[in-house]
């Protein structure tokens, strides 16, 4: 039996090897797609296996690679925390790789997919290496590997201006984040071994470092904001809705499902493992950022008409939802409430796993729609349920799961988060006592709004009549794509029906990080009952609820099914209105109008209506032109001034540049004089 570490390392090497092989096979595109996707799927399975067994084993394995700079070897470590995230990566990598075998065929004859496959595998390897690395140096290298590979994936279709812009914004924000992370590591390394030498760069040295509370807080928040830039926490989320829609859908599924989670991993690693939570306000701040992110994310998601952009904003929301229990876990840890902290931590991990699965499913579904119709704009879609017999129900599973409804998985993690809120005792800080009820309220709001958002997405895209201009022939997608989605959908159901298995499996992580565990109490009443603390406090039996739903729907169907003889098809009634056309349907914009009106202050909305007619347009209109543009206030007030200031500064600095050698020589001479004067 190979060790988990060995299996994961084999998987990393396999991914790198596949990417090299993909370069060599560039001539035979059709074969390359099958070859590379199959191998990636197998390599992902290895990662899944290694990660899963590592959490099961519950022990840490370390290793040292004597490469890199002299005296600075790479440290590697596989403990249950990285094991959990590797499992998520492997699971999604497997689904998405199977899916890619079908999805990438859409590019055949249009453009070469070689670069996509090369960077796809480097991206997977990069993510695994981030999770494996145990020193700041190797971590940053892997982090940059992941960022660079995903940059090339985002600008895969680089002939479009929009894609290049999105990739640029992504790279920019990723690097601002990377600098902050680097600074944080620098601080911690400095406290570990002094600022004069480099020996403090390994995480094991940082763990034992004595850091003063003020510097620990600074280090934590540098790391938090650095990772937040990658995770898409408001106000650093602006790259997400730009990059995800333009990336190929299999890549969006991985970026949203897995890459955002590596940032959460970073927060957990630095906050819980290296620094160890000491101050309650760390958790309070993380919780507040989570709440703002969740609500802002879903409100913007509701306004989108682009299917993938909507999903991207929903990822922002879900990152917020992940940060909420994480913040709670930090608060509980700082007050020594280990059991509650373990509950909140389990909820965090559960939601990380769930979001990976259902968001992966939804992005794959969006990719299937894109593949079949070449259209991302919901306003030009509709009625796909009649044409895409497989994709439609699978996408529906994703929608129900993400809206937090039983029997699917989203409900279980949201249930656990609500339980963490409800079990909170009165805390010694008044600010927290205020924040916790408010937090529960905002979480409830964002969950309810997300149900609304996904009714819109599903209703406008798959239901009603086709809204497109011309009659495109739409076929459902092929088997590899279906298989990827079916497995993800099945996973949604499984995670929703058997939560105890997952809770028992991840239990070792809260034990390691916060010193408490809930596995035993959660399963105290048997495998069917999820009882976080005690049966009297709260219990949920997912298998019974699932079988109850199936049973009652079955009975209701048998008892009241419309008799086949009498059920007949007729034209739409619609209150007696005649000639209902496709253009009279509700559109995505009209569906979200009430929310736009209620929460209008959150958005920057520019709405214009132009009525034209030959004469007296106001009374005899011939044509209405309605235009609406919705943007982030954050973009206008936060990013635009910075961008303008940096351009202004560049122009000023640019005056120094004349292109004449004499002037440059003069600069060098003056610098030399200055140095001599001051030295």
């Amino acid at each position: 039996m190979p060790s988990p570490f060995g299996i994961v390392s084999a998987s990393v090497i396999a991914f790198l090897a596949i990417s090299v092989l993909s370069c060599l096979l560039a001539r035979k595109q059709a074969f390359l797609i099958y070859f590379s996707s199959t191998l990636s799927a197998i390599a992902s399975l290895f990662a899944l296996w290694g990660g899963f067994t590592s959490v099961l084993a519950g022990a840490a394995e370390t290793s040292m690679l004597p490469i890199g700079l002299p005296d600075l070897p790479f440290y590697l470590r596989l403990d249950p925390v990285s094991g959990f995230f590797i499992t998520v990566t492997g699971l999604m990598g497997f689904f998405v790789s199977v899916y890619s075998a079908g999805y990438l065929r859409g590019f055949l004859g249009q453009r070469s997919v070689t670069s996509l496959l090369v960077f796809y595998n480097i991206f997977m390897a990069g993510m695994l290496l981030v999770l494996l690395s145990d020193d700041a140096y190797f971590f940053m290298i892997s982090w940059e590997l992941m960022a660079a590979a995903s940059f090339f994936l985002v600008c895969f279709e680089d002939e479009k201006r929009q894609n290049r812009k999105a990739a640029f914004i992504y790279l920019l924000i990723a690097h601002v984040g990377a600098v902050l992370i680097l600074l944080s590591f620098g601080l911690m390394a400095g406290f570990a071994a002094g600022f004069e030498n480099f020996q403090g760069y390994s995480f094991s040295a940082m763990r034992v470092a004595e850091i003063t509370p003020v510097w620990a807080s600074i280090a934590f928040f540098l790391a938090f904001f650095g990772f937040a830039a990658k995770a898409g926490v408001t106000p650093l989320h602006v790259w997400l809705p730009e990059a995800h829609p333009v990336a190929p859908s299999n890549v969006s599924a991985l970026m949203s499902g897995v890459m955002l989670k590596t940032a959460i991993y970073g927060i957990i690693r630095v906050g819980f493992d290296i620094l160890e939570i000491s101050e309650w306000w760390w958790g309070g701040l993380v919780l507040s950022f989570g709440l703002v992110t969740a609500v802002v994310g879903i409100l913007f998601a509701l306004m989108q008409t682009d299917l993938k952009r909507m999903l991207a904003y929903s990822s922002v929301e879900n990152v917020g939802i992940i940060l909420i229990p994480l913040g709670l876990a930090m608060i509980f840890t700082s007050f020594g409430l280990t059991t509650l902290a373990a509950l909140a931590m389990a909820a965090t991990l559960y939601h990380i796993l769930n979001h990976a699965v259902f968001k992966g499913l939804l992005f794959m579904g969006a990719g299937a729609v894109l593949h079949a119709t070449h259209e991302r704009n919901m306003e030009h879609l509709g009625g796909l349920i009649h044409k895409m017999k497989w994709t439609a129900p699978l996408f529906l599973v994703g929608c129900i799961a993400i809206s937090g409804m039983p029997p699917f998985n989203g409900f279980v993690s949201e249930w656990l988060i609500f339980q963490s809120f409800l079990l909170t005792p009165a805390l010694p800080s008044h600010l927290l006592n205020l924040l916790i009820p408010l937090g529960a309220a905002l979480l409830a709001l964002s969950v309810a709004l997300s149900a609304r958002g996904f009714v819109k997405v599903y209703g406008i895209t798959f239901l009603g009549h086709w809204r497109g201009h011309h009659n495109t022939v739409v076929h459902d997608v092929g088997w590899p794509m279906r298989a990827g989605m079916i497995m993800a959908a099945f996973c949604c159901l499984l995670l929703g029906v058997l939560p105890n298995l997952v809770i028992g499996w991840v239990d070792v992580i809260p034990e390691m990080l916060v010193g408490g565990k809930i596995g035993a109490t959660a399963q105290a009443s048997g495998w069917m009952w999820l009882t976080p603390v005690a049966k009297e406090r709260a219990s949920y039996s997912a298998p019974l609820v699932f079988s109850g739903i199936v049973l009652v729907v079955g009975i209701a169907y048998l008892a009241f099914r419309a008799r086949a003889v009498s059920a007949r098809r007729a034209p739409l009634w619609d209150c007696g209105f005649e000639k209902v056309t496709n253009r009279m349907q509700y559109t995505s914009m009209s569906f979200s109008m009430p929310i736009r009106r209620i929460f209008g202050f959150v958005f920057s909305i520019k709405e214009t209506v132009r009525v034209t007619g030959r004469r007296n347009a106001a009374f005899f209109p011939e044509r209405f032109v309605y235009h609406i543009r919705i943007r982030d206030h954050i973009w206008n007030f936060g990013y635009k001034p910075i961008a303008e200031a940096s351009f202004w500064l560049s122009r000023k600095v640019g005056r120094l540049q004349h292109g004449r050698i004499q002037i440059y020589l003069l600069y060098s001479f003056l610098t030399l004089i200055l140095l001599l004067v001051f030295a």
């Binding site: 409800l422 007729a570 209902v580």
Partner: protein
């Protein structure tokens, strides 16, 4: 009758009460409304007769209705019935109550609404879309409010399991708690919105500008409509009995106390009759409000519920 069968008996009795009590309760509300408006009423059993009529009628499906449209009635009916199986109506000895707590209860109602809204969009009419959009607007504000309101009760009773909550509150002495008062006030406002009553929605209207729920079910007929109507009636009944179980549980049968059952049934009937009076009082006295005043109404409810929870953390 051994003790082993007692919970099963309670559960079956409860399901029967929910199934049959719902149309009767709606009949009672309509009867009272007729009386207050000086009309003669069709009697307590008219809703039941309506359901029976729908049962024998043919079902007409729109040409482009998909499987979502056909599955929705069954899902709505089942989700509502399941919700009915976990709210303690006559006894806290409800075995299924432990399978799903209040959070799951809210989620069960959410499933029903999710599919209802999808069915509204499925046929592709303007009315259907309008109904869905409005329904989801109301729901997205009402659902957090209902969660906050029941959370306050669950904080007071230290449980989220419904029968445990009802039990805890029925044996505790009556104290006027600020948190519970806020929660009750908010619950009443939301229950009106969730069950589609005046002033948020009018269950009797087919006027295009004011429809919410009715706009989504326009294309349904026959047995499909039967299930949706019955589900709607059960929802009203369940919100009434949820309010009773959470805020005035006194009289509900305790653990292992079959002798209490007749009293519990009588108590339930009396309380529901009073709730009916309250509904009719509100509906006769108020006009339906403009659709864009609804957010303010629900915002108030949400704020009240949050205040209730805050006051629990701050004061109790």
């Amino acid at each position: 009758m051994t003790r082993h069968y007692y919970p099963v008996l309670i559960e079956s009795l409860q399901v029967v009460i929910v199934l049959l009590g719902a149309p009767l309760f709606v009949g009672w509300v309509r009867m009272l409304k007729c009386w207050t408006q000086g009309r003669s009423s069709a009697g307590l059993f008219q809703p039941m007769r309506d359901l029976l009529k729908l049962h024998v009628k043919d079902t007409v499906l729109a040409e482009n209705a998909s499987w979502i449209f056909r599955a929705t009635p069954y899902i709505i009916f089942s989700a509502t019935l399941l919700a009915g199986a976990i709210i303690p109506v006559i006894s806290v000895d409800l075995p299924l109550s432990a399978t799903a707590d209040i959070i799951a209860l809210v989620a069960l109602f959410a499933i029903a609404r999710f599919f209802m809204a999808l069915a509204g969009l499925d046929i592709g009419t303007a009315f259907g879309g309008m109904g869905s959009s409005r329904e989801m607007m109301v729901a997205s504000l009402a659902e957090p409010a209902v969660l906050m309101s029941v959370f306050t009760v669950s904080l007071v009773s230290h449980s989220t399991s419904l029968s445990q909550m009802a039990h805890e509150l029925s044996i505790s002495p009556f104290i006027l708690r600020p948190s519970l008062s806020f929660a009750l006030l908010s619950f009443i406002l939301i229950a009106i919105a969730e069950t589609g009553r005046i002033p948020v929605d009018n269950p009797a209207t087919h006027l295009e500008l004011t429809m919410i729920h009715e706009a989504m079910v326009l294309e349904y007929s026959g047995r499909h409509l039967l299930l949706i109507e019955w589900g709607g009636m059960m929802k009203l009944f369940l919100f009434a009995s949820l309010g009773i179980a959470l805020f005035v549980p006194w009289g509900i049968a305790g653990i292992d106390n079959p002798a209490m059952l007749p009293v519990a049934v009588i108590a339930l009937v009396v309380k529901l009759a009073l709730v009916g009076v309250l509904i009719v009082y509100v509906e006769t006295g108020l006009a339906k409000m403009r659709i864009f005043n609804v957010p303010e109404f629900l915002g108030t409810a949400f704020l009240l519920a949050t205040l209730g929870m805050l006051s629990y953390f701050m004061l109790e």
